[in-house]
């Protein structure tokens, strides 16, 4: 163990990736850039009703679970994979139309919050009924490849010490009171990030025993991070960018 520790200490080759490297793996989402004849095949196959063709081809990234069945189902092959935005500050910003294609995310959360907690952030992860996939990914963010600690971000035990609530899951009826209490227990200024499709819109569980459509119906959400589940690097990048660190 001593040898391993010392060789790690002195090694020049670390698995840790730079921000650019992390940004080089885009999350692909389905999108029809045009030429849709509104046949509705993609609407039928979509397991989460994220696509609508009633007006124009519209996809709600906040509902998409990235199964890409719409791409294979499209008879005209007009739906293609495009890079998905990293985050959104408002729920509406995750709905894309043919006329309003996905762009790179811009803007930061409330300046006062970003100013106080931006450079040193304690995250309290809160599972409100997720399937454990988001947890599996969140637990990776402190692995050597990502090492969220180097940005001054850490995961803490007590909500009293936390600055940001990272919420996953569709907010089940059983959890929402506990979630509210956790939110209350945090000292201001505090931020809330909804991570993953379930937390944004209820996702595939929207029809189940859940409270409202996603976390935003329970508490004010500052940051939406799409993905099902969002890979660790996207969580890190979204936090860094939304808090003006990049």
């Amino acid at each position: 163990m001593i040898r391993k520790s010392l060789s790690n200490l002195l090694s020049f080759k670390r698995p840790t990736e730079s921000v650019e490297e992390m940004g080089s793996r885009p999350l692909m989402m389905p999108f029809s850039g045009g030429g849709c004849d509104r046949c509705g095949k993609c609407v039928d196959v979509c397991p989460v009703n994220a696509i609508s063709v009633s007006d124009e081809w519209t996809i709600d990234l906040g509902k998409c679970i990235f199964c890409m069945d719409c791409i294979s189902s499209c008879p005209g092959s007009v739906i293609t994979e495009v890079p998905a935005p990293l985050y959104a500050l408002r729920r509406e910003d995750l709905i894309f139309r043919e006329s309003d294609p996905p762009r790179e995310s811009e803007g930061t959360v409330d300046a006062e919050k970003a100013g106080v907690i931006g450079s040193s952030m304690a995250i309290r992860e809160l599972d409100t009924g997720s399937c454990n996939a988001c947890e599996a990914e969140v637990s990776c963010i402190s692995a050597p490849h990502y090492d969220i600690g180097r940005f001054g971000i850490k995961i803490v035990a007590s909500p009293r010490h936390a600055d940001m609530l990272l919420v996953t899951g569709p907010m089940t009826n059983n959890m929402w009171r506990a979630a509210l209490e956790t939110y209350e227990a945090m000292p201001a200024p505090k931020a809330v990030a909804a991570m993953g499709t379930c937390a944004i819109s209820g996702g595939i569980f929207a029809e189940g025993d859940v409270f409202g459509e996603g976390v935003k119906d329970t508490m004010d959400v500052d940051l939406f991070i799409p993905g099902c589940p969002p890979p660790p690097e996207r969580v890190i990048l979204a936090i860094l960018k939304a808090f003006g660190r990049q």
């Binding site: 599972d127 996939a133 009826n173 209490e181 029809e207 189940g208």
Partner: protein
């Protein structure tokens, strides 16, 4: 697979029937009510080795509890009572599984009900009192990055005198959502029953949908690869997690590193870090190119070495071995009594593995050995996991070596009737079963291995000290989401 071996009986005799089968060496793997409004059918699924059979019984709103005769039924009957409002008479311990409920009705009942009210069932106090005894409530919001569940310890100092586990915070009504027309994209929902066991749940769901359809050989092999990859990353997560929880940080970081490499390979080859969306009824979604196969081969071998190295770090460090050994012992008798399955059972000396007993997909053609340990402590569970990683690596390599060109999907039609899907998930024996009527799923039941394993943890922690609980919990590695469905 379609279950054809069915016995019907009067509801008064159900308990007697189950007991008779039990004395014949059958074991209950699932039990649920399929409501037909009015009345309901109680289904009891039994397994003996590779044989599976079903006992059905028509009930109105109550029946004599099976739990009175066969303790294993106790858990299932609690859920039946809560979900379908069918009262098992003489059960004695109907602790709720869900604490907040919307509406007066019961989640799985078919008749419509008013969803306006909110019902709050208070969490019962622990049945232990005395001088200086207090309760430590932990959860649903835990300190670590884990799922919600409520643990209530009773202690008078450090030793745990009693532990009650109250779950249900993750209840999302998945079984109810599964109902409806048979559709291929149900596997997406099934995968999200427990996201880290996506392949296993997807497979179980696919097995139900496929009925007796013939799956192409290549797809069957890719399925095994997927399932074993999932097993590796789950086991690695837990072994590394044990290091994290005992502040053995360098080894933990190394474990996370090895795991991350595997997840990245998953993403490159299968498009998803947690292998989601790869199992589709009738086959698999993505084919493997030759390049993929060689990449996969080197990746799993690297993981195999990594896991060995991690195991070496643990074994060579007395401080962590001391921590893991003799902690959280689940004795062989208790493991049998609680009918535990999977890694936990194998670590307590029970030879049970669905892959060997009811081979599905390509497992029948492959050779692998069953890993068991007999001490039943945290170290044994850790060792079983480490050895299983090596077995999984060997299974994947076997699949890759004998991979033949061919189709990866087949068309099929889901037959009506009663089907069940049995899969050895990384956590153990996973059972999905469905009552399909006229091309519609009338009732879908999910029995995650965690569901039967949770109660055994209540005994394994007894007389351990409170700070050792996180280690024990981690070594069990149970799912909350899969339990609550």
């Amino acid at each position: 697979m379609i279950v054809t071996d069915t016995t019907s009986c009067d509801s008064d005799l159900l308990a007697q029937y189950v007991k008779t089968y039990y004395s014949d060496g059958w074991r209950m793997i699932s039990m649920f009510a399929s409501e037909s409004y009015p009345g309901a059918t109680i289904n009891v699924l039994l397994r003996r080795g590779g044989e599976i059979m079903r006992i059905t019984s028509e009930v109105v709103d109550s029946y004599p509890a099976v739990a009175a005769q066969v303790p294993a039924a106790s858990l299932f009957e609690r859920v039946i009572y809560e979900m379908n409002d069918i009262h098992p008479d003489g059960h004695g311990n109907l602790i709720p599984a869900i604490y907040w409920r919307k509406g007066d009705g019961h989640p799985l009942q078919k008749r419509p009900y008013d969803t306006y009210n909110e019902i709050r069932i208070p969490i019962p106090n622990n049945p232990i009192r005395g001088t200086g005894v207090y309760e430590i409530p932990v959860g649903p919001v835990h300190a670590g990055v884990i799922e919600p569940g409520h643990f209530r310890f009773s202690a008078a100092g450090e030793p745990i005198l009693h532990l009650s586990i109250h779950l249900g915070y993750n209840h999302k009504g998945i079984e109810k959502m599964m109902e409806g027309p048979v559709s291929k994209n149900r596997t997406y929902l099934a995968e999200r029953i427990s996201g880290d066991n996506a392949v296993a749940h997807g497979l179980a769901c696919a097995h139900i949908m496929e009925g007796e359809a013939e799956i192409p050989d290549r797809a069957r092999r890719i399925r095994v690869i997927l399932a074993e990859l999932e097993r590796i990353h789950n086991h690695l997560d837990i072994v590394a997690g044990l290091c994290t929880d005992s502040a053995f940080v360098v080894a933990a970081a190394y474990g996370a590193e090895v795991r991350e490499e595997l997840l990245r390979t998953n993403r490159r080859i299968f498009g998803s870090r947690l292998l989601m969306g790869n199992i589709v009824p009738g086959g698999v979604k993505r084919d493997l190119s030759d390049g993929d196969m060689s990449e996969l081969e080197s990746a799993v071998m690297k993981v195999g070495f990594g896991a060995k190295k991690l195991d070496g770090y643990i074994r060579k460090t007395p401080s962590i071995v001391d921590r893991l050994e003799t902690t959280g012992i689940l004795s062989n008798e208790n493991a049998l009594r609680y009918e535990t399955v999977g890694v936990i059972a194998r670590a307590s000396g029970i030879r049970s593995d669905v892959r060997a007993e009811v081979p599905y997909d390509a497992y029948g053609d492959l050779s692998f050995s069953l890993i068991t340990r007999d001490k039943g402590d945290v170290m044994s569970r850790c060792a079983v996991r480490v050895d299983e990683i090596a077995e999984s690596v060997s299974l994947i390599l076997q699949c890759l070596a004998e991979m033949e060109e061919g189709e990866i999907r087949t068309d099929f039609k889901t037959p009506d009737g009663f089907s069940c899907g049995l899969v050895e998930s990384p956590r153990g024996e996973l059972v999905h079963s469905a009552d399909i009527r006229d091309g519609r799923i009338w009732r879908y039941n999910i029995r995650d291995p965690s569901f039967v394993n949770w109660p055994s943890m209540e005994t394994a922690v007894m007389d351990n000290i409170v700070p050792d609980f996180p280690l024990i919990n981690k070594s069990f590695g149970l799912s909350y989401s899969g339990n609550d469905v």
